[in-house]
């Protein structure tokens, strides 16, 4: 990693402030760094706070949810405390985002070529024709057949896979430094998902764009990202290199997730579900949030909340018992 990371999230805490000034914390003290050109995955189940964390970086938090504390440093500048117009100037040329459902993220009454051209015109100061040429070129690079003609299509005239390519073309039109992806292939068929993931990987390599990639699919994160954070109930429970975490998890939740997911390459591996279900956001347990479902939990786990600490070289886990549970080297 270079001396200054591209993105540095420190103690990010998100929540809802109620009328009586009480606070419900949804994401609690999340720390991570993303280096330039890095591909960083965040996995977790629904309600883990992975999408909210991403939306906080993009300044797209839903109404009512706010940053309660912490910072999001982008190239040394804190996005949380930056004035609104400063953040708007970053959105597009520096930080771009692609969403799960392209149909709801695209403007239904605007031709897709114009939508792609909008950001370059605004941020790169391109003229109408130049911007249109760039839009067609971006469409060509995302593998859209017959881009010059398709540029005049409206989103509803395109298939799901093509729409997702349009959104990628839009996001990358100003060659951003950081691309935020929120489950970008979940709504796509497998063969199309495969194409889109490869495309993203290739384009980001070409432009040196860093990725923060949120998904619930362990296979997708393995094929897309190098670095990984696992989130559970609003906090990061494990962080490390994807391949190393998958081969040798150091948090009971990560292990549980890997044991419960069907793995195509291990057809005889018996699926073991994690007992119980994640805590309600309004009713999180004291102590470790995973303790009530954890087979390894000891008394201490129910009382105090474990911090994210180094457990191996280049690996952090938030578990008091990690050293005891995972002492043995994997077979």
């Amino acid at each position: 990693m270079s001396e200054q990371p591209l993105l540095s999230v420190r103690g990010l805490t998100l929540g809802i402030r109620h009328k009586n000034d009480s606070v419900t914390t949804i994401v609690d003290g999340v720390d991570f760094e993303v280096a330039e050109g890095e591909r960083f995955g965040i996995v977790g189940e629904s309600g883990s706070g992975k999408s909210l964390t991403l939306r906080a970086i993009a300044n797209l938090l839903p109404r009512g949810v706010e940053v309660l504390s912490g910072s999001i440093d982008y190239r040394g500048r804190d996005l949380v405390r930056m004035p609104a117009d400063g953040r708007r100037r970053l959105a597009g040329p520096e930080i771009a985002m692609i969403f799960q459902e392209p149909m709801t993220a695209l403007n239904p009454v605007m031709k897709v070529g114009e939508q792609i051209a909008e950001s370059p015109r605004r941020h790169l100061g391109l003229g109408k024709e130049e911007a249109h040429r760039l839009a067609v070129e971006m469409m060509r690079r995302t593998g859209i057949p017959d881009p010059a003609r398709r540029a005049h299509a409206y989103p509803h005239e395109l298939s799901g896979g093509l729409r997702q390519r349009i959104m990628i073309a839009m996001a990358l039109s100003c060659s951003p430094k950081l691309l935020l992806c929120d489950e970008p292939t979940t709504a796509l068929d497998v063969t199309v998902q495969h194409q889109v993931l490869r495309l993203l990987e290739r384009l980001c390599e070409d432009t040196g764009t860093a990725l923060v990639f949120v998904t619930h699919d362990l296979g997708v994160v393995n094929q897309t990202c190098r670095e990984l954070a696992v989130m559970y109930a609003g906090g990061i429970v494990e962080r490390g290199k994807v391949k190393e975490v998958f081969a040798d998890p150091r948090h009971p939740y990560t292990k549980g997730l890997l044991d419960s997911a069907p793995d195509f390459d291990r057809p005889d591996h018996e699926l073991v579900a994690i007992p119980g279900f994640p805590p309600d956001v309004f009713d999180r347990p004291a102590g470790c949030a995973f303790a009530p479902r954890c087979v390894y939990a000891v008394d201490h786990c129910l009382e105090a909340s474990p911090p994210l600490e180094p457990v191996l070289p280049d690996r952090e886990a938030a578990c008091f018992e990690s050293a005891t549970i995972f002492e043995r080297t994997p077979a």
């Binding site: 068929d189 063969t191 699919d217 195509f264 699926l271």
Partner: protein, 342 residues
């Protein structure tokens, strides 16, 4: 395994076609199509054997959900027949409905939010006269126990439960009328991974302990591999390959199946090979290609594939493929790799 005696079919569909007439309005113009019929299913033959889990896989628009709807009699086929083993001639519509039950993808929209779980089950048990009125409560508790839920669930509303629990309730509802066949349309794809495994377990126990025959519709091949005994692959309204699960994944004999397998996001290995990387997306069912309907995306298509429409043919003991080149396809590299791993 394939040489063992094949169990009898509980459900057999033959030559099923489902065409939707599409008007001359907006939809037709958007699709830019010449025809005004959409063939969601085009000559499907399939049998579900007693006590098996048969997986039906394919991408959106392949017709798998349409086939499910026909099986549970919520829509009628344009042509073709559905035979149910042991169904007496002149059986009532209600009797037919009882025998094949369905579990839907989204447990948030498939349960009536205004009925308690107890009244939902009671309604079915009464309507189909499964048990005498006095025993309804007892039977409901038994059903809930069967799917791993406790008695106190009876007085609760669906909104009080998580996705996994709702799916259990939906399964209990399907079981209430003592069906022979369960049609499950993507029953775990709306659920989180850690919950998914418990529901897959439940399906497995229903098969093992009740001897239910299950048609399991899914797009996640890793899930299919873990649960089913046989797999049927659909593409644009046709079945293009059927085989026993292990055989299908080790030795796929249709290029589309190979492409599907190679598209699985792998958790431990890298992609097996790039040969069957296919371009583009499934074409619109308004505009089915000539010859083999997969040929525009097929990496090994030859001239013949553009002209001849291949039927599902036997390529192995219990293996059928609808590919003109099925006999000539190179050995599947994934198969060798799997062998080496063992």
């Amino acid at each position: 395994m394939s040489t063992a005696q094949t169990p009898p079919a509980v459900l057999r569909v033959s030559g099923i076609t489902k065409a939707y007439r599409v008007g001359r309005g907006l939809i037709r113009r958007v699709a830019g199509a010449q025809h005004n019929t959409l063939k969601a299913l085009d000559g499907v033959d399939l049998e579900l054997r007693r006590g098996e889990v048969l997986a039906l896989v394919g991408e959106s628009g392949s017709g798998k959900s349409t086939l499910a709807k026909i099986l549970v009699n919520s829509t009628t086929p344009t042509s073709g027949t559905v035979e149910e083993a042991g169904l007496k001639a002149g059986a009532t519509r209600r009797e037919r409905a009882r025998r094949v039950q369905m579990v839907f993808q989204d447990p948030y929209s498939s349960l009536n939010p205004r009925l308690t779980v107890g009244s939902m089950l009671a309604e079915l048990l009464t309507l189909h006269r499964i048990v005498p009125r006095k025993e309804i409560r007892q039977e409901s508790i038994r059903l809930l126990g069967r799917v791993g839920l406790r008695e106190d669930v009876l007085d609760a509303y669906p909104s009080q439960f998580s996705g996994g629990q709702r799916q259990r309730i939906a399964i209990a509802r399907a079981l209430a009328v003592r069906p022979d066949v369960l049609v499950a349309d993507e029953p775990v794809s709306a659920l989180d991974v850690s919950v998914q495994a418990t529901i897959l377990d439940l399906f497995r126990s229903l098969q093992a302990e009740l001897g239910l025959s299950i048609l399991f519709i899914a797009h996640n091949l890793a899930v299919v591999q873990h649960l089913s005994q046989r797999v049927a692959v659909m593409y644009l309204g046709r079945i293009v390959e059927v085989a026993e699960t292990a055989e299908l994944f080790a030795n796929p004999r249709h290029p589309y199946t190979r492409a599907l397998i190679d598209s699985i996001p792998r958790m431990s290995a890298e992609s097996v090979n790039d040969l069957f990387d296919i371009e583009g997306e499934p074409p619109s069912p308004f505009d089915v290609p000539s010859g083999c309907r997969f040929h525009p995306r097929c990496p090994v298509a030859v001239d013949r594939c553009r002209r001849e429409d291949p039927a599902l043919m036997r390529v192995g003991a219990a293996h059928q493929s609808a590919c003109l080149l099925a006999e000539d396809l190179a050995p599947y590299p994934g198969a060798q790799k799997a062998e080496e791993a063992r």
